[in-house]
Symmetry: C2
Subunit: 348 residues, 2 copies
């Protein structure tokens, strides 16, 4: 077996294992070098795989007697070694795979991943991260909810991880890094953000750091990496989703309410179709849980095969470029705890 292996929780998500199997088939077209380890109910998974005989060349099924349900609390399932989710994550710890993907229970995936894979040495906290669209491309945003409260060291670590993510997944050579804040001026916002700014300026990321970004500037494409605590990042991400839904709902309502626009529908359809394609949430599927000794990726539970394949594609990019090892090497030379002391002394 080669080095590029991704383990998959075949039982996670609303339509598993069907969507998972079909997603792997789609992803394999772009990633013929990747091998897959599928954990799940062997009979069910094999039945789905029968439709794609070529899969046997790049997939191995490992039977898992149980699976994590959406309604399970993380504390209930975290120590159950017989679930497809646990076994898929454990394959990364054992070195059998380099990343794990699941469309299952988010809380359980995060809790088990954290417990089994542990944070990379010198990284204090893992973060949830995803790519989001702006007017001329995409940017990386983290943390999106792993950490409700963050100190300056955590934020600076997220900047380091985000920088590598943008390089590897978006292929941006020198990503512009920004801290999410409520103003551009130095003293705006919270103290931990000011301290994080000072810390980032003291690292090798100094030249890539563009300071604070306000949420309405994200869509303008001012930055490639948006760093925030998990509470704020989650608020911003869900606000984007909600606003997009509100506007598209209004657009539909307006079209339906007018005879003129009903007549003009043939002209409108290409616009709506293209807009839908640009904003297609499947393209941004795959929240990455980063900062651990191995990559853990959460696919949306309700996604289809196309969406699942996007999550795999992103994970494959990171695996191929040895993402975890790159983080290890970068933090090796940066002592954020020491920097933090310097900055705290500075304040008094």
């Amino acid at each position: 077996m080669n080095n590029l292996v991704i383990s998959v929780d075949a039982m996670g998500g609303d339509n598993s294992p069907r969507v998972v199997v079909e997603g792997i088939v789609l992803a394999h077209k772009n990633n013929p070098d990747i091998q897959f380890l599928l954990f799940g109910d062997e009979a069910k998974v094999s039945a789905e795989m029968k439709r794609f005989p070529a899969m046997n060349e790049y997939c191995t099924v490992v039977h898992a007697p149980e699976f994590v349900r959406n309604e399970d609390k993380p504390s209930q399932v975290i120590r159950n070694k017989n679930t497809s989710m646990f076994m898929a994550i454990d394959a990364v710890r054992k070195g059998d795979a380099r990343a794990v993907i699941s469309a299952g229970n988010t809380g359980a995936l995060m809790a088990i991943s954290k417990m089994i894979l542990k944070t990379i040495q010198k990284i204090h906290r893992p973060a949830i991260c995803t790519n989001i669209p702006h007017k001329s491309g995409m940017c990386v945003m983290l943390d999106l909810g792993a950490n409700t409260e963050c100190n300056a060291v955590n934020l600076a670590e997220f900047a380091i991880i985000g920088n590598i993510l943008a390089k590897h997944t978006l292929e941006i050579e020198r990503p512009r890094i920004a801290l999410l804040n409520i103003g551009a001026e130095e003293m705006k916002g919270r103290e931990e953000i000011h301290q994080a700014a000072k810390m980032i300026k003291s690292t090798h990321l100094d030249l890539n750091f563009i300071g604070y970004i306000e949420p309405h500037q994200i869509g303008e494409g001012y930055a490639d990496v948006i760093v925030s605590d998990g509470f704020t990042g989650n608020i911003a991400l869900k606000t984007m989703e909600g606003t997009a839904k509100l506007i598209s709902g209004m657009l539909k309502g307006t079209i339906k309410s007018s005879i003129i626009t009903k007549i003009g529908l043939p002209f409108l359809l290409p616009v709506l179709w293209k807009l839908k394609k640009t904003m297609d949430p499947r393209k941004y599927n795959g929240a990455m849980f980063v900062g651990l000794n191995g990559l853990s990726v959460k696919s949306h539970g309700g996604t289809d095969a196309v969406g699942f394949s996007y999550a795999i594609n992103n994970a494959a990019k990171l695996v191929r470029q040895d993402f975890v090892q790159t983080i290890r090497a970068e933090v090796e030379h940066v002592d954020l705890d020491e920097l933090s002391q310097d900055i705290l002394y500075d304040v008094y």
Copy 2:
């Protein structure tokens, strides 16, 4: 002079005093009972007013020798009693007016308002508040940036104020109140939010309180009052603005890029026009600075006469219903500090 007087900083905003004067003329049509005190350069203001002779019946101009510039820092202008902004706010303190409106420097308006008008007894912190659209109407959102950090008492106070705002400006008899959070479950999010939930449940707002709301649910119209700290509220509001701009930009780009849609433009225009009308930021103009002994309203600096008139309309609604006195009466019977002690003891 009757009791319903609004004082106006005639020199604030990008096109003052022209826009201010025209805005007052528009607002007067809906509010014939309101009198205005205009503070500013008498020659300039009177010159603009000459175009509308009837204004003299409901407007009094008071000369102010100086004005606050956009680039002035609050600390530089806070004690300058000769600016139109200071004098307009001071008219509220003196009892000459019940509310003040300015399209000028936000930081200065907030700082001077807070210094001169002071918070209502038993209210610890003022909040910035505005109405935002959802799919079937509007809701009140606060705090939008006055307080970067908030404790549970502050959040509970915002719930009380927001409840009155929704009743008075949106005419909702029993507003549904929610705390903005990253999950619906009781233990999600930050500790101060959990404590605030307990406190609100212990007040007269108990039956109106619907728990936590996530940002993507705001547009669904689940709540009439959305309460958060000023950092989070500001992030959410600016994310809404940014996402709306991103989508409308994409829509325009798509229309321009396709010959079919260019041909169909006559059919498209009514849709875009109606969407623009619904989302028109002028309708939501007027951020209210509430919790002080008097109402201070910030109009967007770049707005036009229509936008300025909306800000006046909102202020007029509150003045007519004696908003400040209603808050005083409601907090009279609620001892949030005592409640806070009970809840803190509960934790240990």
